[in-house]
């Protein structure tokens, strides 16, 4: 096989990878933040709040990610335009980012919720007994411990998200996979390009997964 065209296409592939990683990192940050709020809502004593959060989580876990992405591509620009009164298109990147954040938040929520529940009630009581408020108790005592325990699971979920970012091809975003596909198309060497893309996804995902397992071992010792 001839890989010389791969080298010529490298700048395009690289910028595709940059887009994938940018989308991934922002989606993780937003997804974990939103997921944490959802987890707190699900665990709250407020029936309405916990029911709404429960509904959100179950809803997003019951529909395909691809649907969410296309849905947001058409609906989010419309809503934002309607709210701000402008007609600026917000573009595929941001609509995808919102879609990933909201979809992944449902999964992160369940991880965070389990993490919070794994911390004993006695820790909450101890923080309250010292006069801390609910938000201080969560921020300073419960969440730091919960996140420590959950880090491997959150990372594992993020590796799945890394692979799922490739679904953005549906709205024409040039992520890594889409760049490889179109790069290969242009020079008529689709096989090589797709093989190469597969290799890159494998190396990154498998490598990260191995690191996570090692981390998990260290945390449980």
């Amino acid at each position: 096989m001839d890989f010389s065209s791969l080298i010529t296409a490298m700048p395009g592939l690289l910028s595709g990878m940059m887009l994938t990683l940018k989308l991934l990192v922002l989606a993780i940050i937003g997804g974990v933040a939103l997921g944490t709020l959802l987890a707190l809502a699900r665990l709250s004593n407020n029936k309405l709040l916990s029911t709404l959060a429960g509904f959100y989580v179950n809803y997003f876990r019951s529909i395909p990610l691809l649907l969410v992405i296309t849905w947001f591509y058409f609906v989010v620009p419309f809503i934002i335009g309607w709210l701000t009164g402008t007609n600026e298109p917000i573009g595929a990147f941001y609509s995808c980012l919102v879609a990933f954040m909201m979809f992944e938040a449902a999964y992160y929520c369940e991880i965070v919720r389990a993490g919070i529940q794994s911390i004993s009630k006695g820790q909450v009581n101890a923080a309250y007994a010292l006069g801390m408020s609910y938000s201080q108790t969560m921020r300073l005592v419960i969440l730091p411990q919960a996140f420590r325990k959950m880090t491997p699971l959150l990372l594992q979920q993020s590796i799945i998200l890394f692979q799922d970012t490739s679904l953005v091809y549906a709205v024409g975003l040039m992520d890594f996979l889409n760049s490889a596909r179109s790069g290969g198309d242009i020079v008529g060497e689709l096989h090589q390009f797709l093989l190469f893309a597969g290799l890159v996804y494998f190396i990154i995902s498998f490598g990260a997964s191995t690191l996570v397992k090692r981390l998990q071992k260290r945390l449980t010792v």
Binding site: Q123, N125, A126, A127, Y128, A129, L130, G131, M132, Q145
Partner: protein, 242 residues
Amino acid sequence: MISIKNVSKWYGDFKVLTDCTTEVQKGEVVVVCGPSGSGKSTLIKCVNGLEPFQSGDIIVDGISVGSPKTDLPKLRSRVGMVFQHFELFPHLSITDNLALAQIKVLGRKEDEAKKKGLALLDRVGLSAHAAKFPGQLSGGQQQRVAIARALAMDPIAMLFDEPTSALDPEMINEVLDVMVQLAHEGMTMMCVTHEMGFARKVANRVIFMDQGAIVEDANKDDFFGSPRSERAQTFLSKILQH
């Protein structure tokens, strides 16, 4: 200082506390004992509002715990509590365990809070362990840190919920010694404990609970001299045997 008036509490249909009434005067040490499941922990957690109750009221230093208008976090910051399982914060060093609430709740400056924490750590004989984490200390040491952590808030009273029952026998005394010293300094204390040696040494009164009710509430000498109820007598003879 602490006045418990006709407090009743239910978990659904199950009545955990039945019309409990008692009082802890300023500087008094009151020991609460009774069989497992009799509601001792529940009662003591009602005192600082960690557990809500449905009827009656508890007044701490003139403030009603049951009133919805009460600023519970503020009230709790003035009442120290020590738990059976220590409940130090495992992700924080001993120094930070002692300083955290002083800074975040009382608004003390960081160096002031650390200094105060270290002074109290010294008082419980653990100043060498300031930089360690809770997991590196023995149970008895952790419990002494937990007492120091509560004292760092300058509490007007201290609540203890079986502070020695999760400890190996050889560590019980190091914790009791700290509590005895505290009692001698005039701290107002409400202690759930089965350490009758401690009760004999420093308690003013002993309360005996059974099935959610206060069955005996007597001066120490009366209690150990001749507990009136049969249940208290049976209970005492059981725990004094070993």
